[in-house]
């Protein structure tokens, strides 16, 4: 298991989801990815994408301007 991060700041939906999707394809089952975004919509969309595709959301964090979503790659 290894940890990775993805900078998706300044991207509007659905680009943060697409970048997450493309990055996850390169990772192994059990790897952890933290995606950093500025579009508040990712708080709905990345978890939705994870649910559809069998990945687990480990944590979501937000402050006024940034959103961080940590997911664990499933099979």
């Amino acid at each position: 298991m290894s940890e990775h991060s993805l900078d998706a700041r300044r991207l509007l939906c659905p680009l943060p989801v697409i970048r997450t999707q493309d990055r996850v394809k390169q990772l192994a089952i059990g790897d952890v990815l933290t995606v950093i975004c500025t579009d508040p919509g990712v708080m709905q969309d990345i978890p939705a994408w994870c649910r559809i595709n069998g990945h687990a959301i480990l944590q979501t964090q937000s402050d006024e301007y940034e959103y961080r979503i940590t997911l664990k790659v499933g099979d």
Partner: protein
């Protein structure tokens, strides 16, 4: 017996949702595909602005996929789509929307995906007569033929008005369980949604593409004319969705944030564009797009000052940041309302 598999073009609207559900009901394994062109209308783009904050900030295609319990593959086609927009074989619709070429392109991409993933046919939510350019009885065969999908392209909502496709002829699905919808009315779709127990769905009034929007299309044409080329980058088309666009001269335009949400969005472009905001008074952030001389920047600062709280002052300080991040102050008198020519507004 082999499990038959279909890939469905999911826009996030009701029609593609129903078309997908109709095929799932017949025991076919369906996965969704959604293409991102850069011009897609999303709640999130609107959500930049405060006035739209109440709109749901969900991606409707993801939401549809989750509601139906299918996988969704979102494909970035920004680069390939440029040729569709710049050189549409079938021309544009009422605005800069190359709907027919767009549909051909998307079905062609779906066919490629179908072949790569060993799927059997393609589903769309098209309905004869629903859209003036791409969803007509005479354009449907064009889409099937030019995309190369031919009889592997099935439109479940209006299939009974069209020749039988391969999935129907092979008995993979029953034709009599498909539909005969036509026209722009929504009643049959709403009745079917009710039958399927679908009560929450998106019905975007202006379609799902910014290119069908008159105001957006004008900004795009202005960009092309000012640059003397139709080439564009994603940032260009994203910025057309945000702010006031004011072009006082051919060689540059000023993009002025209309409120905090837009200012926050434009902040992300501060390293790529000369930008300015009023330093002596509260006022909006603005980006300068194009090649601007010192004289041009002075005029831009006067415009930006016009939208700040110092609009009635004799003189205001405007902070200008160049592409290296160097800051300087320009002192200007804000433009009076009658000095801001109507034709400057794109």
């Amino acid at each position: 017996m082999k499990q038959i598999k279909a890939v469905s073009l999911i826009s996030g609207g009701l029609d593609s949702m129903l078309a997908t559900k109709a095929i799932m009901e017949q025991g076919v394994h369906v996965e969704g595909i959604n293409f991102f062109t850069g011009f897609c209308v999303e709640g999130h783009t609107h959500a930049i602005r405060k006035k739209d904050k109440e709109k749901p900030k969900r991606n409707n295609s993801l939401w549809v996929a989750e509601t139906l319990g299918i996988k969704l593959h979102i494909i970035d086609i920004i680069e390939e789509y440029k040729d569709v927009l710049i050189n549409p074989k079938h021309g544009y619709g009422a605005n800069m929307n190359p709907c027919l070429d767009c549909k051909v392109f998307m079905v062609k991409k779906a066919k490629q995906w179908m072949e790569e993933n060993d799927f059997d046919f393609i589903i769309t939510g098209e309905v004869i007569g629903q859209r003036p350019m791409s969803q007509r009885r005479d354009t449907m065969p064009i889409i099937s033929a030019e995309s190369g999908a031919d009889d592997r392209l099935l439109r479940p909502l209006c299939a009974q008005h069209l020749p039988a496709t391969l999935p129907e002829r092979e008995g993979w699905i029953k034709r009599d369980q498909l539909f005969d919808f036509t026209g722009r009315g929504r009643k049959p779709q709403m009745a079917l949604a009710k039958e399927y127990g679908l009560t929450d769905y998106s019905q975007p009034a202006g379609g799902c593409c910014f290119l069908t929007d008159e105001s957006y299309s004008k900004k795009l044409v202005d960009l092309w004319q000012a640059r003397g080329t139709k080439e564009y980058e994603l940032d260009d088309v994203m910025l057309l969705k945000v702010g006031r666009h004011i072009r006082p001269k051919q060689n540059f335009k000023v993009i002025v944030a209309r409120e905090d949400g837009e200012a926050r969005f434009l902040q992300g472009y501060k390293n790529s564009y000369i930008n300015m905001n009023c330093a002596s008074h509260r006022g909006p952030l603005a980006l300068i797009d194009g090649e601007a001389s010192a004289e041009d920047l002075h005029l831009a600062a006067q415009i930006v000052a016009r939208y700040g709280q110092g609009r009635d002052a004799e003189q205001v300080d405007v902070m200008v940041r160049d592409l290296s991040g160097n800051e300087s102050i320009i002192q200007v008198k804000p433009l009076a309302p009658n000095e801001l020519a109507k034709e400057w507004f794109v």
